[in-house]
């Protein structure tokens, strides 16, 4: 399989790097502090392909901390608040759009 770093990187707006935490699979985002956070608000924002490639590079290098890292689109409003850029990422942030059976 092609490494994420070997794939052509094309971004059309603000983006973040997201992954799942290795030991438990929880959704995480790469931060400016070269760490991971479970809160999208902490995510490092990149706006160019080069910056995205660099952020993805350091994320993939943390093979022990995260699995399946990739670049995801976000929206950033005037206050700097970050929102997911598509439905898939919205669901990863908010959770499933249905009530879980055990709680029904």
């Amino acid at each position: 399989m092609t490494s994420p770093l070997q794939q052509k990187i094309k971004i059309t707006g603000p983006s973040v790097v997201t992954a799942n935490r290795t030991w438990d699979g929880v959704v995480i985002w790469r931060t400016n502090a070269k760490d991971w956070s479970t809160d999208l608000a902490d995510a490092a924002i990149v706006r160019t392909a080069d910056a995205a490639r660099a952020l993805l590079g350091e994320s993939v290098a943390d093979d022990l901390g995260a699995v399946g890292a990739y670049i995801a689109p976000v929206e950033v409003d005037e206050s700097g608040a970050i929102k997911p850029g598509n439905l898939r990422e919205q669901i990863r942030v908010d959770g499933v759009t249905i009530e879980l059976p055990a709680h029904a």
């Binding site: 799942n20 290795t22 438990d24 929880v26 699995v67 399946g68 898939r88 759009t97 055990a102």
Partner: protein, 551 residues
């Protein structure tokens, strides 16, 4: 039920130990994800949107009550209190932690359950008719052969790295409940003109991106030759199947590109060389497998007990009985389907509490045995008819007696974009909305048998191609839209559905299905002309007109 022997138990326990060590090395950094990924997949562990997903095999859809209780235990202890029964007689847990997986596997191993070959390019879980062994008119119990195939294919060194995954399904009934025509190999146990039992072998069926109905490669393969014949097929596939393009790697593409005649020639050539090898099944081997299946000691019971006559006065009971209770091969007994399709619920989901309760009821009413069907429902295979009223009340209390089996709200759906990293669109909310639209039982009953199948992407885990109404979610310009097909079916007359027109937005899917159903009700020749038969007679056009006239 099949009783595992020491070899099975040792194999499963060794696998748990091996995986425990592999997980430990992954979590310590000794193994990279690149090194670990294939290992976890071979143990049924995927990475989904929110977490790891753990897929556990239920071979030929047969579970004991103890096994179901253990699945409930895993759901409760390691997950979020529920599991999802799939279209391939597996159960999936959606929230499990990698660090917990070895313990979960060890717990499952205590009752002979494992997750081997629930992923990867190998032979997957062998599936079968969920009524196997109890269906009237069945040639014989196909699970004996499914178990032989399971033993043969488990960790088979030659076939652990096929060009792509490989799925078997088997039935021994004239009416196909196992969807054998949409599997890589479909097996239909039948009798030939001489009264001998053997298999019609179909090959190259499948759904996904490029759907095909399986083609008969041999009308009759004696039981003695089953393993050598399927091995010949697997060898030809292993040799010629494409490994350069994942979308063209399934055997269906090879069969299509070579043509069934040429493919069959290749198989015959291979088969001649191995037919009389150690793969030839000695009758004693088959008998040994057969002897490890235990069957209930059925009583001699009246075909129509008083309890049933009295309960017939209750219209709610009758509604359930009509849709959920099927004839059994033994007089006085019945097969009962437990609907995992409550109105507003996620198809195929069951809570840990429901699984425990179902296990208890199986002990009380079904000789401790439960079946899982590809339609994502459960079944009790051995229920005394006299017990049906009491069983119905108990099932109703735990929410698995919705009287909708085979009706429009008995929907097959994949997890879709709510869970799955491959999905482009949501499936479960569409299913939930449809169940609410058709919640009125009288309406659903008036419509009659109608299978709605929903997939959240082209991989077709929700079998949309073979739904009477098929719904495929795709993504277009960042929005979820859905292609609708009609006329598909997965039984012995399997067909792929035909597209009725342009995709429709998420918010309109339920309206479109209602339009299709209303068109059917207006156009059917008589009340007992099924939807699928009306589509066959009328074609797509009247339905297309109805749906798109105002869109």
């Amino acid at each position: 039920m099949y009783a595992y022997d020491e070899i099975d138990r040792t194999l499963i326990n060794e696998r748990v130990s091996e995986f425990r060590d592999q997980v430990k090395r992954r979590l310590s950094g000794e193994l990279s994800e690149d090194e670990f990924k294939m290992i976890r997949l071979m143990n049924g562990v995927y990475l989904q949107l929110h977490a790891y997903m753990f897929r556990v095999a239920i071979p030929y859809g047969t579970l004991s009550s103890a096994q179901l209780r253990k699945l409930a235990h895993v759901a409760r202890k390691y997950d979020r209190g529920y599991g999802h029964f799939t279209t391939r007689q597996n159960i999936q847990f959606n929230w499990i932690k990698l660090a917990d997986l070895p313990d979960a596997l060890a717990d499952l191993a205590e009752v002979g359950i494992h997750a081997m070959q629930t992923s990867g390019n190998c032979t997957r879980n062998i599936t079968a008719d969920q009524w196997a062994g109890v269906a009237p008119g069945e040639v014989e119990d196909p699970r004996i052969w499914a178990e032989l195939l399971r033993q043969y294919s488990t960790l088979h060194p030659e076939f652990s790295f096929l060009p792509r995954k490989f799925k078997f399904a088997i039935t021994a009934s004239a009416h196909d409940r196992a969807a054998i025509k949409v599997h890589d190999i479909g097996l239909r146990l039948h009798r030939n003109d001489k009264g001998e039992t053997g298999f019609e072998v179909l090959v190259g069926g499948g759904l996904g991106r490029t759907p095909f109905i399986g083609k008969t490669i041999r009308e009759f393969v004696p039981g003695r030759d089953l393993l050598s014949y399927v091995e010949a097929i697997l060898r030809v596939y292993n040799q010629y199947g494409r490994r350069d393009n994942i979308y063209k790697a399934r055997i269906k593409i090879l069969v299509h590109e070579l043509g069934i005649e040429k493919f069959a020639e290749e198989v015959e050539t291979e088969w001649l060389q191995i037919r009389d090898s150690t793969l030839a099944l000695d009758a004693a081997v088959v008998e040994d497998i057969r002897s490890r299946f235990s069957y209930p000691a059925y009583e001699k019971l009246a075909p129509m007990p008083d309890e049933l006559k009295q309960a017939a006065a209750d219209p709610q009971f009758e509604a359930w009985r009509t849709n959920s209770v099927a004839p059994h091969k033994v007089q006085g007994y019945a097969i009962v389907t437990l609907s995992l399709k409550p109105i507003g619920g996620a198809p195929g989901d069951a809570t840990a509490a429901q699984m425990d309760a179902v296990a208890d009821l199986a002990d009380k009413y079904s000789f401790g045995e439960i079946r899982v069907g590809h339609e994502q429902n459960l079944a009790f295979p051995h229920v005394a008819k006299r017990d049906l009223p009491a069983l119905w009340r108990a099932l109703d209390k735990i929410g698995v007696a919705t009287p909708n089996v085979n009706l429009v709200t008995d929907i097959i759906a994949c997890p879709g974009l709510d869970y799955c990293s491959l999905a482009n669109a949501r499936s479960i909310p569409i299913a939930q909305e449809l169940t609410r639209r058709f919640a009125n039982h009288d309406t659903a009953n008036l419509i009659g048998r109608l299978h709605v199948n929903i997939s959240g992407c082209i991989n077709a885990c929700g079998h949309h191609h073979v739904g009477n109404i098929g719904i495929l979610g795709v993504e277009k310009n960042g929005e979820e839209v859905y292609q609708i097909t009609i006329g598909g079916r997965a039984d012995e007359n399997a067909e792929l559905g035909k597209l009725i027109g342009p995709a429709v937005p998420y918010a309109e899917v339920a309206d479109v299905v209602e339009d299709i159903v209303e068109a059917y009700l207006a156009l059917r020749e008589r009340p007992d002309e099924l939807f699928i038969d009306a589509v066959k007679r009328l074609g797509v056009e009247p339905f297309r007109e109805r749906v798109y006239a105002t869109r």
